[in-house]
Symmetry: none
Subunit: 250 residues, 2 copies
DNA sequence: GACTGAAAATGATTGACTATGACCGAAAAT
DNA sequence: ATTTTCGGTCATAGTCAATCATTTTCAGTC
């Protein structure tokens, strides 16, 4: 049986049953545990199901978030981002006043957040929506919306940021480089990131491995201005810096 | 049984019964007390229920949300609302600067909008999202989000409204009454509606038949401050007013 | 078309890890 | 004061990822 055939069958079974164990799958597909496990790992990385201890469950989305998630689906380095996001989410503690930047990395972070007694400020429409639905306290910045990222930008947002003093801030980035700092392709968004970061007591940048060493067009912070959270680096050039956290890839 | 399966079952039971004891759950799921306790702790952390001594209770909806659920209300008088929304949408012309209030009536209006050279300002997250996805220019007000309606409220939004001068504004309402004007159950939202309407050159209120003659707790405008758009009235008491438009059903 | 070596997929094995249920002293409710 | 519930600990059973041997696949060669 072809791998893709199994993938299709497993996906179908999971969609239909909502959850399934490894043992069940071995019986239904007449193949070994090892293979099923490998398949589940692969499908999980492809975001076609959620691998859990003992088996897998379907990806269920609360219907309003469906199309928003579609864009995120064909995202790169999903697994890495989720690990980084989990680590970042655990940094939020009781009574924190948190800034959440727009972007896919911070989106995964929203899914992991547990702290309900914190207050969140964001410029991302989808984040605000997810957060409010999960019962968190949320402030949204005001201003024009950028179509491609559905993030609030503009002078008004910059102005309102000035009055906040965040205990922690979490940012996405397109490039991390020791010399060129944190960079992103859009100037309007860079301005927001820069301003927001200045208002943060602790600033964290979520950077999966594809961002390391990259340089994009607009700098929003120096490398030493924030703590970079990334997965284990194979490159040693950054190891000597103490503002970089390496999360172990689960 | 997979942990997620148990989570789902427990959540369902709690939702349905509103409260449940640990003992009941051990019997219903045929598992040990320890496991149930661990599950409840996990689910509590996930915000899927509230763990209490002896068991768990469902997450109760915001009491202020008593003005009927967004989802439920959206389904009332759908056909009427759509007709009204279509009429309202056609009022938007090239170069208009439009304020769009939160609510289900204006939501249907978003679906009907055709004018792309207008600029829209709204306090509703979902409207902003729909509009931007349809390629319109959108400004979102900033501030805290009200959970039940997912609308921006608060002083910040009021402040930023002051500087706008809308050519047209479209509002939802809970009650229309000649003597008591336009009313709505939530004070914070009433303030926003009031301020926004003051900035409008032309203000329209979308009111399906269930709203006519109703009086809710907070007034946000006098009856003569806006043009009410409704379906054909069978009651003649309002006919003499010239600020009421009756759209023919269908 | 058959042979061959490299690459990929599979299944078995294993030590490490995780979830579970029983137990028990502490905490809370009555 | 008594009973119930709680949360931590522990042994056990179940599950996992990594490794390795075997089989399958496939391109290149004769």
């Amino acid at each position: 049986m072809l791998a893709e055939e199994r993938f299709a069958k497993i996906t179908e079974i999971v969609e239909q049953k909502k959850s399934v164990t490894v043992l069940e799958l071995t019986q239904l597909l007449g193949t070994s545990e090892s293979t099923i496990r490998r398949d589940l790992t692969a499908l999980h990385k492809m975001n076609r199901l959620i691998k859990v201890h003992g088996g897998a469950t379907a990806i269920e989305m609360d219907y309003a978030t469906k199309d928003a998630d579609f864009a995120v689906r064909k995202d790169m380095n999903v697994e890495e981002k989720k690990v980084i996001a989990k680590y970042a989410a655990d940094l939020v503690k009781n009574n924190d006043f948190v800034y959440l930047d727009a972007g896919s990395s911070t989106d995964y972070m929203v899914d992991c957040l547990e702290e309900r007694d914190a207050v969140y400020v964001t410029n991302a429409i989808s984040h605000a929506q997810k957060l409010i639905r999960r019962g968190f306290k949320v402030y949204l910045l005001g201003g024009p919306i950028k179509k491609s990222t559905e993030a609030i930008i503009g002078v008004e947002a910059l102005k309102s940021l000035e009055k906040y003093n965040f205990t922690k801030g979490f940012f996405g980035t397109n490039g991390v480089d020791i010399k060129h700092g944190f960079t992103t392709p859009d100037n309007a968004e860079a301005l927001i990131k820069k301003q927001a970061m200045e208002q943060c007591h602790e600033a964290y940048v979520l950077a999966d491995s594809s961002k390391i060493g990259q340089i994009s067009s607009v700098k929003f912070a120096e490398f030493e201005d924030a703590v970079a959270i990334t997965v284990s680096l194979h490159d040693d050039t950054m190891k000597k810096y103490n503002n970089i956290v390496e999360v172990n890839e689960k």
